[in-house]
Each structure stands twice: as structure tokens, then as C-alpha cells.
Amino acid sequence: MTTTTEAAGTGRAEVGKARLRKEDNHLITGRSRFTDNMVLPGMLHLALVRSPYAHARITAIDVSEALASPGVITVLTGADVAGEQGSLPNAWPITPDQKAPAHPAIAVDEVAFAGEVVACIVGRTAAAARDAVELVDVSYDELPVVLDLEEAATDAVLAHTSLESNRSATWVFDSGEAGTGKPIADALAGAEVLIERTFHQQRLIPAFMEPRSTVVDPTGEQIIMWSATQVPHILRLMLALTLGIPESKVRVIAPDVGGGFGGKLQVTPEEIITVLAARHTGKPCKYTETRSESLQAAHHGRAQVQRLRLSATREGIVTGLDVNLLADMGAYLGLVTSGVPILGAFMFNSIYKFPAYRFECTNVFTNKAWTDAYRGAGRPEATFAIERLMDELAVELGMDPLELREKNWIKHEEFPFTTVCGLEYDSGNYEAATAKALELFDYDGLRAEQAQRRAANDPVQLGIGISTFTEMCGLAPSRVLGALSYGAGGWEHAQVRVLPTGNIEVVTGSSAHGQGHETAWSQLVADKLGVPFENVEVLHGDTQISQRGLDTYGSRSLVVGGMAVLAAADKVIDKAKVVAAHLMEASEDDIEFSAGAFTVKGTDRSTSLGEIALATFAAHNLPDGFEPNLDSDATFDPVSFSFPHGTHLAAMEVDTETGAVHIRKYVCVDDIGVVVNPLIVEGQVHGGLAQGIAQALYEEAVYDDAGTLVTGSFVDYLVPSAPDLPHYITGRTETPSTTNQLGAKGVGEAGTIASTPAIVNGVLDAVRHLGVKDILMPCSPSRVWRALEEAKTAGTNTTGGVQ
């Protein structure tokens, strides 16, 4: 296998190897530790009463009947906990004047979306609590609702009576003003070709498979919370800040977590309520949501209206891009809600050398579930827009879409390259990835078939969709986050402990939920310290064990968390060298470390890491002043982001009679720098593709006019199943990142970011000659069919036929 050979050539035994996962055994045998599996003695169960209205004033709540229901211990309303529940945190105020309504975990006097919690029943059993939900009598005065994003921006109807406007904040980047590029006005005014389009990013639901669940034990000196969360460390801090508990009195454990995709990057009302209930009763409490509650009230993603103008020369050189966004916050600001579009701001120029760029985004409240991070967070939205625009420009100029991209992208020899946003891309080779993708795809063959089908007027037309992309991984350099007003840094922490037996314990602040940290980190450390893969144990996801961390999101685990592990291991080696020199009576400068052995240069005197570990543990004979044990900590803060890239190609068949869309072939070549475990990388790509394809073809959170979620179950919210998805053909090129020791770039979001535009470009390419100019996502059969019918009608109109 190529990767293994390369790895061997560079002296790496483990990095690059398709190691089977250490994490699998308990998951395939049913010995999982998901939060809902947890049972504690005397544990009580919660059920939540949720508002059926999207916007209403609560005038009275009568809980007497619920309280009298068998098995009910207590009922908490917003009024009962008003003094102690705080307001849920927004850690990313993007502007100093950002507006936001208070967000209590249990609504006190106004609800702003259907599904907002209005009361909490605490019962002896889950069934008893659930039975009493219907018995809580809430009186509401309905208020006008605003659901449409563009309508909300007009402020005709307010989503919150406490706010004077639905506009939360406006954030602007202008390359002319920032000095990173030319003024956009000049580019637009001088445009030989101007493409103007509006795209809609539909609302999506992360739909992790494990519903959110939280167990809180208040019976000890500390409050211990188990939760299905991506962010145990952030959650602990936020619980402390929100509820006024000293951090040291809160311990958060993320046991097995059944997927996140950004959806579990949150401090949820449900978690706060479980703490409140546990404090009020003095007993362990558990809350597990139903799927319907999850779809209705866990945060959603995307939800933007994108207005874009792209200026170019007749030769196809882009001269400027102007982006105007409305971003739907939903009813409240979650942890990073307001920052999601800002992450996208830096990616609209993607892999291209645009000389002028302006981005303006207004964050708007509506009476829907709040939005926040969803796989890719901001970057899929940006990539979709630019890749759709590049296709539109190609059509306008009658140019092959790949040729157009090539004309504008940063050439391999031009790296490092500072973009119009001021980001420095360290490395990239778009030529290599594209060439490999074309080869795997049979581009010319499929183009020929497309021409044939068109000529033959085949009812099933073929389209080829292209998307090239880059993304910003490894959130992030703390000072950059600071410059963007994010409330925390982006560093990661790790500890490497060498046990007296020579076995290694690695503690990481990055908290896994399916990404395979235990395996990948073991590979890193095995290579670094020259110990067997099996002798490394990786610990994570418990704030008591992993004392510092900033958790898992934005493909930061390996490029930030993994680097912290390597840095800690480096310190272990440095310490061990001192002891090795002492034990072998040599000078420190003469000690060499390789493959787990410390050798005195030019001699055969040697000692192993294990022997040194035992010596430092026994501490009988150490250099003066040397602290026993070899444990080391490191905190890593990268100098820059990393920028994986790739080329995705989709062959789409569209049945022009039914509107049915079929993915005939999907090829992607991703360049994520150096790969630690190709097996894990492959899995991440597959899963990402599934989610990006789902946005293009299947998924959308739909509300009715009253603000009730119509797609409130898996019957209506179409998470694709196995027959809905193709067999992906994947390839890789490897252009190492130059900003981290390993050369890795991050992979978790790549598939999602690139696949949505590839699929939609392909669908359009199949039917564009029939007059179809755009199709809203998801491109369902009915939408495609309607677009074809409308194009037919429009076509007849222009020829003067049917009026």
C-alpha cells in the first residue's frame, strides 16, 4: 500500500498505517456507555413541557394536576427557577453592539419558538414524568410570528417583544478597507461580465443518531454531569458561569457520544434544567430527549439567504466578489450561533485569486429553533455559493467549468499565498488533486456520453458537477479568534504520562465522538516514543481526567489536539535525555534518541524509555534537582489554520419525465496533508459526503405558517439511508501543511463542504440545455420536475406560443 511505503521511507512506522480502531470492541458487542445507559441509585427522570406555539406570552401555568399525578416528585416552571437559571451563553458576540434576547433555560414569560421549554416534570420513572406532561395547564396569549428570513429583516413583525429589531448584528469585511485587496466598487463598475445570483441555504438538522441525554448527580461534593456533548470542557465552564457554581464543583463527563456534527457543540437548556432539577431534589436526575424533541429543539444549521455579485473579464478572470448575506439565527443565540457566518466570510474566495472582495452579513432573529454550528459551519455555505457562481460564469462565457476554475486558482508554485481575506494559505496543489480526480472519473468519456444523450433527446439526461474547495481547519490560532471577538482561545492541551512499566497514558483535551482519537493518538505516540501501539492508552472526555481542553469541532482534533500530544511527547523525550545522560554517565549533548532507545553517540551504550521510566519512578538515582517521573504537559496553539483542499466530481442522471435524480458516479480527491490513519480518514470522507449530498438532495427543516416544524420526525426529515447514497470513489493527494510538525490538515468537514455544490452543479448541468437556470435545495424530484415544467412554459412564452 502506497501510504505504508511512504511512511516507511520517512521512518514512520505507525503514521500512515490503516490501523483498526481501538474504540470498536465495546461498540460492536453492545457494551457501550452512552449517557442514556446510565443508571444511578435513586435516579429521577425528567420530562419537559414544550410550547406548541412559535411565539406567545405565557399568562399562567397550573401545575397542580401534574403534581398530583402518581410518581411525580416535583414540577419546575420558569418562575420557580427564575433567580437561578441564568441566561444561556453566547460566546461569540461578533460586534460590540450585537443584540440578543435573554435566553432562560425554562421560559419565564415569553416563548419564541415551538418546542421551547415551559416546565419540567420530575418523576420517579420516565413514564410517570411523561404521563404528567399533558397535565400541566399553560395559558398562552398568541403573538404574531415571523418565520421568513427576508421578512424578518424588515422588522414588520418582531420575533421577540423585548427587542426593537430582529437584526442582531451586521458584520462587514471589505478588502479595500482592510488593505488586503482592491475596492469592490471598482471591480463591479469595471466588470466586463457580471453574474448576480441569490442562493438559499435551507435549514438543516444535524440529526446525530444518539438523542441528547444528560444525567446529573448532585449527591457528592461535586455536581457530576454525564452528557452527550462534543464539548465537556466548555460545558463545565459555561455551567459554572451560567449557574454561579465554582468550576471546581462541576465535573463533566462525555462518555460514548453518538455523533455530533456540531449539533452537540452547545450548552443546552436541557442540560441546565437537569442540573436545576438535581439541585432542587437532591437526587440524580436524567433527561433523554425523544427524536421529535431533538428535531424540534436541538439547534439547526445553515439557513442563509446569499445575494452575490461576481465580476469578471471576458477571458474568465474574476475581478471581484460581493457577498451579501442574511443569516437566520432562529429565536436565540446559542454558543457560537452568531459566529457561524463569519467563519464562512473567509472562504467565499475559496481557492481563487480574487483581487477584490466584500462580505456583509446581517444576523436576523425568527421564531424558529435557533441555529448554530453544523458540519463545516459557514464554510459549506460559502463554498456552495462560489462553486455555483463559477459554474454560472462558465455558462455565461461558454467555457468549460474546469478550465474557468484553473484560470483563477492559486498555482502550486504560488504558495504560500495570502488571500484577499488576508489569510495565508501555507500549501496546496489544486492541479494534482484535479488531475487525479479527472483520471478516476473519466471526465472526457462522461462528457461524450452527455453530448450523446442530449443529441438523442434521451429522457434521462446526464450532467457533470464540479466543485473544487479549500477550507479552514484547525480552529484555531487564539489571537485570530480574539480578533474575531470569539470568547475563548483555540489552543489544545495534552499530557503524556510514562508509567513505571513503560506503558504510556495520553490525556487529550479533544473529546471524541466517533473520530477515532484513541487509535490515531496511539499511532502518533507510538512513532514518537518508539513504543508499541498497543502500549498506549488514550484518555479523554472527562474534565476530572483531562483537566484542560477546548474539545472537538471544526476539524481541530488532529491539527491542534494531536500537535499538543506530540509536543508533550517531545518534552518527555527531553526529560528522559537528562536522566539517560546521568545514568550512562555521559554528557546530555551526546545522547541520541531513536525508536524508544537513548544511546550515547558513537558507542553501544544504550537505555530504553521503559528503563528510564522505572528509574524516574523509583527516583533512587536521579540528577540533582530532577523531579521524579517523566510526565509532561503541553498546550499547543497553532500559528495558523490549515487548509485542506480537493476536487469533487459528480455524474448526475436526471429523469426529465419524473424529476428523479440519481448519482451515477461520485469521485473525490482530497488533499489533507499527511494522513495518520487512512482508514479513519476514509470513513470521515464517506460520512461527510453523505451529509453534503443530503443537503443537495434530501434534507430540509420545514415549518408551517404557524411556525410548527413539519419535518418533526424521521418520517419527514429525510436523513438518507443506504439505498439513497452511491458508492463513492475516493482518492488522495498529499501536500503537507507547513504550519505543523506533522504536516496534517484535517478532514472532518471536507466531504460535506465539497459535495453539495458538486451535486447541484451536476443536476443543473443535466437540464440547463432545457432552460433550467436554478433549482432550490434539496433538489427533490418534485422540485426538479417543476423547474423543468416552468422552463418549458417559459420557453413556449418566448417563442410566442401559449400565453
Partner: protein
């Protein structure tokens, strides 16, 4: 509340007799009464398949049945799949093919796949995909799950090198 009913069910080779409420779902009985938490709950609409178990050898969604309906029947859960400390071929194949990430859908997927192979020992890739239609996975994009099931159907024997032999196959697109 309706009074309890006594049921006797054989679960993973052990016979259990319990008084249960008529409304208790089979999945709740397995998880809450028997402590068999390997079977998971992902939805409340019989759509996700996380709760799939075998009833007399045939896959059923245990959130769709009442515990009383299992009276007198034999139930196998994911916890009964490994025998004498040895993983079943499907469990081994899921591991070898990296057919799981977070692992939440995995017990249901394995149970459904076993049932699928019992019915059709030599399915095509399309038949495998169709057979798994009722089981949702949000992490894997299904490709490696399909590969795992196919490898069992093809009688692939895995060694214990700890390194996947299948990675090259999945990358080039060949499933053979």
C-alpha cells in the same frame, strides 16, 4: 394504569420471567428491566433501526413491539451475538472494514445485517443497501457498512494483524 402481565422471554440464551405493564415497549424491557443496554433507541417513529433485535431469528425493531408480544419467544440482542468470547463474523467484519464511527447505529446495523444474510446469503451491493434501508447511520455514509456485510457474504476470513486489509479496495471503488 393497567395491571401488570407476566411474561417469559428467552433473551440471549437466558429465560426471564417478569411482570410488565402492557404498554412497556420491548426495547424498554430489554434496556431498563434486563439491563441490556446494547440495544439503543434513536427515534420514536420506527425509522432509525437503532433498536433492531432478533425475534425467533428474524429482525424486528424492538421499539415497535410491546414486551408482552415477546412472551414465549426468543430474543437475541447484540449482546448475544458474540459466542464464547468470539465475535460473530459480522461483528468482526464491522471492525475490520471500519463500518462504524460513533457506534450508535452499530448494534442495530449488525442485527439487521445478520437477518439480511440469513435470508439472502449472497446479496449484491444493491441488495445489501436495500436490506439496510430501515437503519439510519449518520457517520459512515454506509459504504463501509455495505463492504462489511459483503465481506461476510463472500466468506472473507480476517486475520488479526490489527491493520485493515480492505482500505485499498474501498478507495478504488472495487467491492469484490
Amino acid at each position: 394504569m393497567a395491571s401488570s402481565i407476566s411474561i417469559t422471554v428467552d433473551v440471549d440464551g437466558v429465560s426471564y420471567t417478569d411482570d410488565v405493564e402492557p404498554r412497556l415497549l420491548l426495547v424498554q424491557y430489554l434496556r431498563e428491566r434486563l439491563g441490556k443496554t446494547g440495544t439503543l433507541i434513536g427515534c420514536d417513529t420506527t425509522n432509525c433501526g437503532a433498536c433492531t433485535v432478533h425475534l425467533d431469528g428474524v429482525s424486528v425493531k424492538s421499539c415497535t413491539m410491546f414486551a408482552v408480544q415477546a412472551d414465549g419467544h426468543t430474543v437475541t440482542t447484540i449482546e448475544g451475538m458474540a459466542q464464547n468470547g468470539k465475535l460473530s463474523p459480522l461483528q468482526e467484519a464491522f471492525h475490520q472494514c471500519h463500518a462504524l464511527q460513533c457506534g450508535f447505529c452499530t448494534p442495530g446495523m449488525i442485527m439487521q445485517s445478520a437477518s439480511l444474510l440469513a435470508e439472502n446469503p449472497h446479496p449484491t451491493e444493491d441488495e445489501i443497501r436495500d436490506g439496510l434501508e430501515g437503519n439510519l447511520c449518520r457517520c459512515t455514509g454506509y459504504q463501509n457498512i455495505v463492504a462489511a456485510v459483503k465481506s461476510v457474504a463472500d466468506g472473507v476470513e480476517y486475520g488479526d494483524s490489527g491493520v485493515s486489509a480492505t482500505i485499498e479496495d474501498t478507495r478504488t471503488g472495487a467491492l469484490s
